[in-house]
Subunit: 383 residues, 2 copies
């Protein structure tokens, strides 16, 4: 059965001091209904991806709270897979449509992160790590820094290879009006920014952001005829041991490798047919891992290709990565990220990406990760 994304909306990402979680959710719902000109009664179910509302604001049972906004008593599901909550919401919504339970489904990803003291955010985020990692006092920058050190040593790279990822994604963020950061940065600025967890500097890290993004997907053929949209070729997910201690390897993420392999098998596409990807760059090292683990590049190549800026829009290469600005510049309201990635592909594939439009795009891939790699989701869209 063919299912398509027929609409996308995102709020501004950033420090939105005047907006609550459900203000953002409401804007995302109304925004996508208006953009697509679809009546609420057409929506059969809602999937909501959110990580931290329980911990940060004692706010659970979002399904029923969204029912207050939506008002139609339809099934509403909240799913949580740490920073992959948005990608997983999309994945399960797609399967829900494939099961024929519903024809037209709304997906929302949202996170409100800035209303608490920074130490609570750090503590909330580390809830996605293993108990022993939490007890050790390490943070997510620390976990990724450990992996970065091993990767850099093995392939003889230095901090410049990491920094180039942030420079590229900020260059893209300048072109995205909804991005948290819309200013360009240099390698020197990254290297001179404060150390968060050596070798990761402040500008190697995605920010703490607020935001909500929404998609409508449908298998209703008459709606598809009206709205066009983009084809969902596949959505695949895999898990891995959340604890670095118990991983087979620390120079990449096994969950990404498995999910990507399944996605390419099911879609029958080759890596080289993908001209556009939104990958999970929560830290600069994570984009290097993603490019290798998805199979775009061989293990160890990404550090070089990063400083060659191969995937920068303005270089006009065959594969452009993180046109939204990625998590780094677009911002990382964790539940929203996986939805925004798919929305960015939708905008590109429907030629609505304005200043950051990539030419001749046919297939795009989205890659969303939970924690230090315990969950990965890989989805492929096509025109």
């Amino acid at each position: 059965m063919t299912s398509r994304i027929i609409g996308y909306y995102t709020t501004q990402f950033g420090e939105l001091w005047d907006k609550s979680l459900f203000n953002l959710v409401e804007e995302a719902i109304i925004g996508v209904l208006n953009t697509t000109n679809i009546e609420p009664g057409t929506i059969d179910a809602i999937f909501f991806g959110n990580m931290l509302a329980g911990i940060l604001e004692n706010n659970l049972h979002a399904g029923a709270k969204i029912a207050d906004i939506f008002g139609l008593n339809i099934p509403i599901f909240r799913v949580e897979s740490a920073c992959a909550s948005g990608g997983i919401a999309f994945h399960l919504a797609y399967e829900y449509v494939q099961s024929k339970k519903g024809k037209t489904v709304l997906i929302i990803g949202a996170e409100k992160m800035t209303d608490v003291q920074p130490e609570y955010i750090t503590q909330g985020l580390i809830s996605a790590a293993s108990g022993e990692e939490q007890e050790s006092g390490i943070t997510f920058p620390g976990l990724y820094a450990l992996m970065a050190r091993i990767y850099m040593k093995k392939y003889k790279y230095n901090e410049k290879n990491l920094a180039a990822v942030a420079v590229k994604n900020h260059a893209h963020g300048v072109l995205n009006p909804s991005a948290h950061f819309r200013k360009s940065i240099t390698v020197e600025q990254v290297l001179n920014s404060p150390i968060v967890a050596n070798p990761l500097k402040l500008l190697d890290c995605s920010p703490v952001s607020d935001g909500a993004s929404s998609l409508i997907i449908t298998s209703n053929q008459s709606l598809i005829k009206q709205k066009g949209g983009v084809h969902i070729l596949t959505s695949q997910t895999a898990t891995d041991s959340i604890s670095l201690l118990r991983r087979d390897s620390l120079i990449g993420l096994k969950a990404t490798r498995i999910a990507a392999e399944k996605a390419f098998t099911e879609s029958k596409l080759q890596r080289k047919e993908i001209s556009l990807a939104e990958v999970h760059d929560c830290f600069t090292i994570a984009e290097l891992f993603a490019m290798e683990d998805i199979g775009f590049w061989k293990k160890g190549e990404a550090g070089q290709k990063a400083i060659d800026y191969e995937t920068l829009i303005s270089n006009g290469g065959n594969l452009i990565v993180n046109t939204s600005g990625g998590l780094k510049a677009s911002g990382h309201p964790v539940g929203a990220t996986g939805v925004k990635q798919l929305g960015e592909l939708y905008l590109q594939l429907t030629q609505q990406a304005n200043k950051r439009q990539v030419k001749n795009v046919k297939y795009g891939l989205a890659h969303n990760v939970g924690g230090s790699g315990g969950t990965a989701v890989v989805s492929i869209l096509g025109v």
Copy 2:
């Protein structure tokens, strides 16, 4: 496509001071695999229902933590719909099998509630209510007490009509070795127990429990041939405004009415064909609402039928309710409850319920509620 439940396991429910959340989850996984004699490699995905681990123990991203136990990199999804988390996990797992994404899926519901100070549990649970209800300082017993008062006044009932529900469910709990409470109580004991939120007494309220329950469902026809199991006829869910202020009526739960109507429509069954039900008796008033909202009895009849003990096993009626002991006596580890309800029906329909076995059971219904009625799930199983 036909899908069946082919296995069930539950840990003891109770105050399990020596077990962590993931100890319980591990026992539930190993237990159901052993009981069904199924290899882990047969499982295509896992759905996990849990409400409070984020709030109570800063423990999110359970999918990846279960991956550490399971070790096979398969998709694992955590869903949260307050006290309906288990029922929703089952619902989405069933749709996942119907979508043909996976053939054989493991469902786990679990909650660890007793390791924190009681006031934190109350605070965690009220996260499922609306923001304005939270700010008012009301608790869930308070919300159900408000609804109980309105129901009692309208239909001229008193606290004895409520108490009879607890007496019946404790009588059933005596027969269930995994129940939190296995002692019978009297109406007088209920009436004389401390007031929690008038008119609800301590013995009108389900307890704070630890526990984990697990099911395996499959559409694999050769597995079904080997294992038998029970047929899943339908699983339906609906939402309603979480805030009592914005409800159409306070003498029942609209979300239950909608989900039940959809379940009977899809299964093409009549109410009178159901001989067994597990309904969500978080408070005694909630079982009265459930019986009327599902449509077993007319609005206003349940108070009388409760004191007639129509649904008590030993009365041998046409419809027996909460043979597990319900939430009241079996216990209410919130994420586990919806899974245990379906497991109890499985045991009854496969003639494995021992001392509490009901004769001539053909169809059973499970009803799981989130919060004060913001979410409801109604599923029907058959032999």
